[in-house]
């Protein structure tokens, strides 16, 4: 067990956990931030995507000991009022079916658009291919990313 000081969504948090505890479970079990989802646990589906210093990261395979001073952003902290352009686009396009993967999809899209504000559809496809949606909302995901890019 070791003590870790984390910067999450602009606030400081302190947790006492084993070194190998994935960031995902620190968020969910220790800090009660359950917006970041567990699904595969092996960096295959993207449901657990958070930002580490702005970069989309699979939190399920990110040991807490590797986070260091990085700024962590989760879906809860993407925007104050849920009005990030990507969140607004997701609402406008009405993307979700079951909704379980969508927080991860939004986090992937937000980090991608930060790096590439005017992507082609092909670039959107490449960026979003790392997240699985079992309901098959893929058409709406790409539509929403394209809308968010336009509205940014």
């Amino acid at each position: 067990m070791a003590n870790y000081n984390l910067k999450i969504n602009g606030k400081s948090h302190s947790v006492d956990v084993e070194d190998d505890t994935p960031l995902l479970w620190v968020l969910r079990d220790h800090l009660g931030m359950v917006g970041t989802k567990f699904s595969c646990g092996i960096a295959q589906c993207g449901a657990c995507t958070v930002h580490l210093d702005g970069k989309a990261t699979f939190s399920c395979v990110t040991p807490i000991s590797s986070v260091g001073n990085s700024e962590v952003t989760t879906i809860e902290g993407l925007s104050e009022k849920g009005d990030h352009p990507v969140q607004k686009a997701w609402e406008e396009v009405d993307v979700a079916q079951c909704g379980y993967c969508q927080a991860g999809q939004i986090m992937t899209a937000a980090a991608f658009l930060e790096q590439n504000p005017s992507p082609s559809m092909e670039e959107i496809d490449n960026a979003m291919n790392r997240n699985i949606c079992r309901c098959g909302t893929y058409h709406k995901i790409r539509e929403a990313v394209a809308l968010a890019a336009k509205s940014k």
């Binding site: 505890t21 979700a96 379980y100 969508q102």
Partner: protein
Amino acid sequence: MKTISRASRRDFLKIAGTTAGGLFIGFNWFSCDSPKIEALSTDEILAQAKSFNAYLSISPTGDVVIYSPNPELGQNIKTSFPMVVAEELDADWEKVRVVQANLDTEKYDRQLTGGSGAMPHSWERLRKAGATAKYVLVAAAAKTWNVPAEEISVEKGIISHKNSGKSGHFGEFVAEAATIQAPDEVTLKDKKDFKIIGTPVKNVDAKEMYTGKPLFGLDFYREGMKQAMVQRAPFGMKIKSVDDAAARAVSGITDVVTFGTSVAVVGESTWPLMKAKKLLKVEYEPDGTVESSADHDRIFADLMASGKAEVRRKDGNVDAVFKGAAKVVTAEYQCPFLAHSPMEPENFFAHVQGDKCELIGPTQTPDRARQSAAQILGVPAENITVEITRLGGGFGRRLRADYIEEAVHISKAINAPVKVTWNREDELTGGAYRPAVRYRFEAALNESGEMIGYKLRGVGMNAGNSTRENNFPSGAVDNVLIESVNYESSITTNAWRAPITNFLAYAEQSFLDEVALEAGKDPVEFRLELLNRAKTNPVGELGYDVDRMIGVVKMAAEKSNWGKDPNVKQGFSVYFSHRSYVAQVANIEMQSGTPVLKKITAVTDCGMVVNPTGANHQVRGGIVDGMGHAMYTNLTFENGVPKQRNFDSYRLIRLKEVPEIETHFLDSGFDPTGLGEPALPPTGGAIANAIFSATGRRLRSQPFIEQKEFSDIKLEIRRA
């Protein structure tokens, strides 16, 4: 806390007065002890003996709360059910709040998600729920203003009397409405006057989902609860010995509990559980048959040749007609077991306290959860409460209560509240799969290429009846023999989105293409010939509406420009399932010698479309699902254990692998039917038929990418 009186009269709708400012309207109230209602501070509830299952409450502020009883797993019922109630109420949708109802078998019937059955079951009930409430509100306004009710109109939650210029919102008439007795029958709106139904209403949980609010079962936490993960036995095995020393030594592990063929590790948080579970040393020994995929291939071959089968349908004389046929076409098709793999793994909270138990989590069948818990605990079902969270997908997996039973066992053993969480490996190895099935089709053609005989034998692994004997082409052929053989495997199976038809449709629609080719006929013309035969001179019982099927076939041919462009290789498929009719056409274009799957056109007749956004979602999602599993996904076994254990080897379709999907809805004027399933079955056949058209390769097994016929086909998938 206020208690709610029990209503006793049948066929009667009464509205009870409220002291704390709420009008509660409900149906079939025989026992009304739900804490949600008490929270509304409702004095009395009304009842009507008809089996209605929806209800709503209206505050003096004019706000409308609609309870949605059925579990929401992405089929959008939590939005579409309330739309129907609000429509007949003429509510202002902006003032409607939707609340997921807990399990209550006395208030609601068919409180489950499965079979695409919720909307057809509840359509009339929901409409009457809204219309009846509107009736008494109007009557209250008429009384208050001393004007005839017939002169009153309602729009968007505002009640108006044109001649006197009086108007007010619903909330102003709540108290008066509460004293008025509603009629047994109410007049429902003419469909042409619908203002909410048929419009694209957005998902009611959108904001919560996109900001990371706790909605799903896995998000549920309660102070003091334990967490648990479970190690289960391979199929056909039981526990020989358990060595849990290393698991118990993991920091944060508080208990190890063995029940049945399972061993649970219990602790305070998830990560130590994952580590401890890996350290469990459990030895297993055979307890029945321990099967591998190679065994299944042998069993399929044996049972296909066996003299024993359950005859599901027999028309005419197949033996004679096959003997005298000008041509006989035979083919076999096979599919593997599949896991459901909802993105949210199975999980449930249970708190057993003495002879009572509280259950909270994602389930498609809350009543089954309750019954299972009652049985385990040996207590009456009434002692169990079930709160339904939003479900992160289901696809049939959460019709099973196995993961809920685990939570009950563990909570009882440790005498504490507990949440059981499965990981992905548990989900893929935990059973209740789509059954593996093999089909053999035989068709007899006469000299003019007419199908005069049709035989189908299905062999399924725990599939029950693997045929749908009264479905097309039954009714269109004089001589038919349909048989089913079931093998009792140790590998557990369960309903999987569009049970049986999820593969049968692909096999049948591919086979009919093979027959059309042998008959020298265009695939669409061939199907229409058969359908016309079923219409003009049907043979035996028909489980489908011939006109509606012809409708989607013709419209799909038209919308896809069937056969018009020689550069586009097309595959056709049509299927009726779960009361809806869906025809699909897949387009493959040859680009520099490479086949490129570019588009799937779908025409759906699900009666009236309640929510176009939701309907589009279900059709496209069903197609993506059908395509993904037909193309990529396999689950194979070695000694009772699946070889594919996570998404690195169990391949699900991704964003770049979906073509353009164009959806059309045929308005046949019928009441709405469900859409969670019907778009999936036709997809595999449409794609396989297009691949044949483009490459001459016939794919008779799934997943396609693992078939030798497919090995040198470099199929690309690209949107236009």
